[in-house]
């Protein structure tokens, strides 16, 4: 236990980031201890996706350190961070559009690609996420729900040590969402962080919420507790109403 505490699956210490003088992250500390799923929540522009990009090496923070199981990730390239077992999905899918569903899942597997065990693992994962029937379909021809599931299959095949999901449930049909939720809940050993706008999804999946606003962590605790706080709801739905976030959420709930 103490080893986990000393070397947590993911630790962000004092991360700050600014774009042309505008601070998007200020002194963010987050520790993911691998106990349940953690949701990053906050209004648009709170810095959730920026934090993901900082963790995964797509952006270099102005200050701060990111580490995973005691190994520093800061300054590493995106592919090196994947090499440490930290994987992510993208809000805008970023599938390999001209490749088939199966090929999408097989990217980055290298020499293990033709191994029997790998092929069986790919088969099982496609089956689990309801993608087996589409395995030969090009990613660009997939419906949205299946495309979302594919982004998750594409990272799960690598047996990540830490997984970051950027809006995994957004815009999904019910069946696809249920497949996804079941697959995530089944992986209790996998430290999982998600960025999510839809609070129903957050309640369904996450046991802990880290609430960001204006690039700062303003609350961090159990999901029920955080989501029932009125002050945070006011931030989330726009102070006094009428902010873009509230409409986004209204849209999500339709």
């Amino acid at each position: 236990m103490s080893e986990i505490q000393n070397n947590p699956p993911l630790q962000v210490v004092g991360a700050s980031m600014s774009f042309g003088g505008v601070k998007v992250l200020t002194d963010v500390d987050v520790t993911i201890d691998g106990d349940g799923i953690v949701a990053l929540v906050g209004p648009n522009g709170a810095g959730k996706t920026t934090l993901f990009n900082v963790i995964c090496g797509a952006l270099k923070p102005t200050h701060g350190e990111v580490s995973s199981f005691g190994e520093t990730l800061s300054g590493l390239s995106a592919e090196a961070i994947a090499g440490h077992g930290v994987y992510r999905t993208f809000q805008d899918l970023r599938l390999f559009r001209s490749l088939s569903v199966r090929e999408n899942v097989c990217v980055g597997l290298g020499r293990t690609l033709r191994k029997r065990s790998t092929i069986e693992k790919v088969d099982a994962l496609l089956e689990e996420l309801d993608l087996a029937q589409f395995e030969k379909v090009r990613a660009r021809d997939l419906a949205h729900g299946a495309a979302k599931l594919l982004t998750v299959a594409r990272v799960l095949i690598h047996d990540p040590k830490v997984l970051l999901l950027d809006e995994p449930g957004a815009g999904m049909d019910i069946q696809s969402y249920e497949r996804l939720a079941a697959a995530l809940k089944r992986r209790t050993d996998l430290p999982l962080v998600l960025v999510e706008h839809n609070l129903d999804t957050v309640r369904d999946l996450a046991s802990r919420v880290v609430f960001l606003d204006g690039g700062r962590v303003i609350a961090d605790g159990p999901t029920d507790e955080i989501l029932s706080r009125d002050d945070l709801a006011a931030v989330y739905f726009g102070r006094g109403g009428g902010s873009g976030v509230a409409t986004d959420i209204a849209k999500d709930r339709e």
Binding site: C56, A58, S77, A78, E79, A82, G83, Y87, R88, F90, R94, L95, F96, R97, S98, L99, E103, N104, C106, V107, G108, L109, G110, R111, L113, R114, F134, V137, R138, D141, L142, A143, H144, G145, R154, V155, H158, G169, A170, G171, M172, D173, I174, Y177, N198, D200, T201, K251, D252, R253, E254
Partner: protein, 308 residues
């Protein structure tokens, strides 16, 4: 019959060039205008080896592949530092001009505009591979190896990662794929492949000078790949055969010599335009996609909106 055999061997050289360019464009998404130059590198390397060292064909092929691959490094490494595809095209143009100039001016090695000639007939295990049937057979063996090699590469894990990088480099790198490194590798392999074609050229023609390895040659190869259909198995092969056969066939038509060049060029250009109009994705291109489109509609139909 010598004319026919020359057309066949140079046609096969064109197939190798088209396959090499398709590995770059179709698999890696990199467009290079320097293919013709690597063709020349192979021809010069083979000529030099045959003139000064040994008449062995296999040695010349191996040396040409290595030379072509190594020479690609100073060109692709800086060109690929920029993530923009256009930079790669421009860099390949610049590289083609530089190497073309070297062919023409490095008199002590390349013979300048006079070129290199008078080298012995190539051999394999002391059997002479003279222009004509023996060289045709050797060329067929080589082109089969090249096509098989390209297909193996394109279908390997390496090729898959390259195609993924072509589609979305950022997503590929998030899965641990080192895109820049793969692109350098593919450019080296494709350049080595193009140099193999040059060896056939030198063996068939028996004479190498700068005029055969120009940007015009690169353009013609690009036309072969695009007309045949990018990234398809038969595309570059069909394109290369067609664009070799058309001009060759036109020479058999009896035309007043005064208009020969004009009519040949116009007919050639017209045929290309017609193919582009009739089959914009190339002759062999898009066939697979048509089949995909005929699959049940439910795959592409979007289900409902946000309902969670």
């Amino acid at each position: 019959m010598a004319y026919f055999e020359t057309v066949v061997v140079l046609g096969i050289a064109s197939i190798i060039l088209a396959v090499s360019l398709d590995l770059l464009i179709g698999v890696a998404g990199l467009f290079s205008a320097a293919v013709g130059v690597f063709y020349g590198v192979g021809a010069y390397v083979a000529s030099l080896i045959w003139l000064h060292w040994t008449s062995d064909l296999v040695v010349a092929l191996i040396a040409a592949f290595i030379a072509g691959g190594l020479l690609a490094i100073p060109f692709v490494v800086p060109a690929l530092r920029s993530k923009k595809d256009v930079t790669f095209v421009v860099a390949s143009l610049a590289f083609a001009s530089i190497v073309g100039e070297v062919f023409a001016s490095w008199n002590s090695v390349t013979g300048g505009y006079t070129g290199l000639y008078g080298f012995p007939i190539a051999t394999v295990f002391n059997i002479q591979i003279s222009p004509g049937l023996p060289l045709v057979i050797a060329s067929v063996i080589l082109v089969v190896i090249v096509i098989a090699g390209k297909e193996l590469l394109a279908r390997s894990a390496w090729g898959l990662d390259l195609r993924a990088t072509r589609d979305d480099e950022r997503a590929a790198s998030s899965l641990g794929v080192r895109g820049s490194w793969l692109r350098i590798q593919v450019a080296v392999v494709a350049s080595g492949m193009a140099a193999l074609a040059g060896v056939l050229y030198a063996a068939q023609v028996g004479y190498v000078d700068p005029s055969s390895f120009t940007l015009g040659e690169s353009e013609l190869i690009a036309a072969m790949v695009v007309l045949g259909g990018l990234g398809s198995f038969y595309g570059p092969v069909v394109g290369a055969i067609l664009l070799t056969a058309i001009p060759a066939g036109l020479t058999f038509v009896t035309i007043d010599p005064a208009y020969l060049g004009l009519i040949e060029q116009t007919a050639f250009g017209l045929i290309i335009v017609i193919i582009i109009v009739v089959r914009p994705e190339g002759i062999m291109g898009g066939l697979g996609r048509v089949r995909a489109r005929l699959r049940p509609l439910e795959i592409s139909r979007r289900r409902g909106g946000d309902s969670v």
